[in-house]
């Protein structure tokens, strides 16, 4: 008679040897716990990934000021249903508001999420960021999965403003993320709406 291992045949274990092969030779009560723990970890990770991917997503960015030429601002919004709304307003030389709206595909929203999660802006807080002032204000509001951030700060002229603030690290992340988002949105809007000059 062949010597069968205690907890069922293991493909890795020789039938004639009775050596410790890790998991299979644990007594059953310990094995259940370890297995359950492993499963739970896997489940958590899968859930997190699914929630990341399929959770809600909303992003709104605003930058503007009030001055001689009225309320001049730039604002764009990625809505959960895929709509991208873009608005640019100024009364400079009696100009009027520019509004553009277009529906994006899930692929584009997914790329936007990636840009945001790679920047790690969701880990930051605007407690120590400069308050909005006469020069202007910026607002960034993001909902991603179960996190919701709504940051408000003044305009950032350059890295000098970033370095001299009370939270240079966080503000730097914000500064570059805003630039990357603007690049993304301007590319989308101009490709969809702008006619190339001859």
């Amino acid at each position: 008679m062949l010597n069968k291992p205690e907890h069922g045949p293991s493909p890795l274990k020789s039938k004639t040897l009775d050596s410790y092969s890790g998991f299979d030779s644990l007594p059953s009560f310990l094995r259940n716990t370890a297995e359950a723990q492993g499963e739970e970890e896997k489940q958590k990770k899968a859930m997190a990934a699914v929630e990341e991917d399929n959770g809600e997503f909303y992003l709104r960015y605003y930058v503007g000021h009030r001055g001689k030429f009225g309320h001049e601002f730039l604002e764009f919004e990625f809505r959960p249903d895929g709509k991208l709304r873009y608005a640019n307003n100024s009364n400079y030389k009696n100009d009027t508001m520019i509004r553009k709206e277009v529906f994006l595909t899930p692929a584009v929203l997914k790329e936007c999420r990636r840009i945001i999660s790679e920047s790690e802006i969701m880990k930051e807080d605007d407690n120590n960021w400069p308050e909005p002032d006469r020069v202007g204000r910026q607002e960034l509001e993001i909902v991603m999965g179960n996190e919701h951030i709504s940051f408000t700060t003044s305009k950032i002229g350059s890295l000098v403003d970033v370095h001299s603030s009370q939270d240079p690290e966080g503000l730097r992340i914000f500064y570059y993320l805003v630039q990357d988002l603007k690049c993304f949105v301007f590319s989308l809007i101009s490709l969809h709406f702008k006619i190339k000059p001859i």
């Binding site: 489940q43 249903d81 994006l104 595909t105 899930p106 990357d180 969809h192």
Partner: protein, 175 residues
């Protein structure tokens, strides 16, 4: 919708139903503390969406989101993601130029590092060329990284993706 995660008999991950709550687990920022306009508007948007979701029944977990691609002003725009950060414009032009004439290409840089951000937006002259590029290149590799290619714009909104990720609740909420 958020509930407890459970595993049922067939080893499916299911969510138990819980009364909907509008709040999120983590909320940060001056805008929320001072109750800026942003919060109420965004909540209204998500509320609208949640109400719409109620009407849909029996969504399978992995339902494909189908949409109709939308033509842009002078062509068809395709989004490429997963681009290696050291790729060059020529690489993209040669790879995608094989399927049709490229009217325009936006290959944006990461503003901090100076490398590519990782996506590209390509404008093809007509639908057939764009569709060929999508079918032919999606999922293939560029510099050992898998790239995804898909349309960028669609004609309609898509329903909340959340509804496609949750199985039917198996248990009644305990109120």
């Amino acid at each position: 919708m958020r509930g407890r995660v459970m595993v049922d008999e067939d080893n499916d991950v299911v969510m138990t139903e819980q009364p909907r709550e509008r709040g999120r687990e983590r909320r940060k920022g001056r805008g929320l503390r001072l109750g800026g306009r942003g919060e109420s508007r965004q909540q209204a948007l998500l509320n609208d969406e949640e109400e719409e979701e109620e009407e849909e029944g029996g969504n399978d977990r992995n339902v494909l989101q189908l949409f109709t691609p939308l033509r842009s002003v002078e062509g068809w725009i395709v989004l490429v993601s997963g681009v290696h950060e050291e790729a060059q414009e020529d690489d993209i032009l040669t790879l995608f130029g094989a399927h049709g004439h490229i009217n325009n290409l936006h290959l944006n840089l990461d503003r901090r590092t100076g490398f590519l951000k990782g996506y590209a937006l390509i404008e093809y002259e007509n639908f057939v060329e764009a569709q060929a590029a999508i079918s032919g290149i999606n999922g293939t590799k560029l510099f050992f990284r898998t790239i995804s290619v898909d349309w960028a714009f669609s004609t309609d909104p898509f329903k909340g993706r959340r509804s496609s990720s949750l199985a039917k609740p198996r248990h009644k909420a305990i109120s």
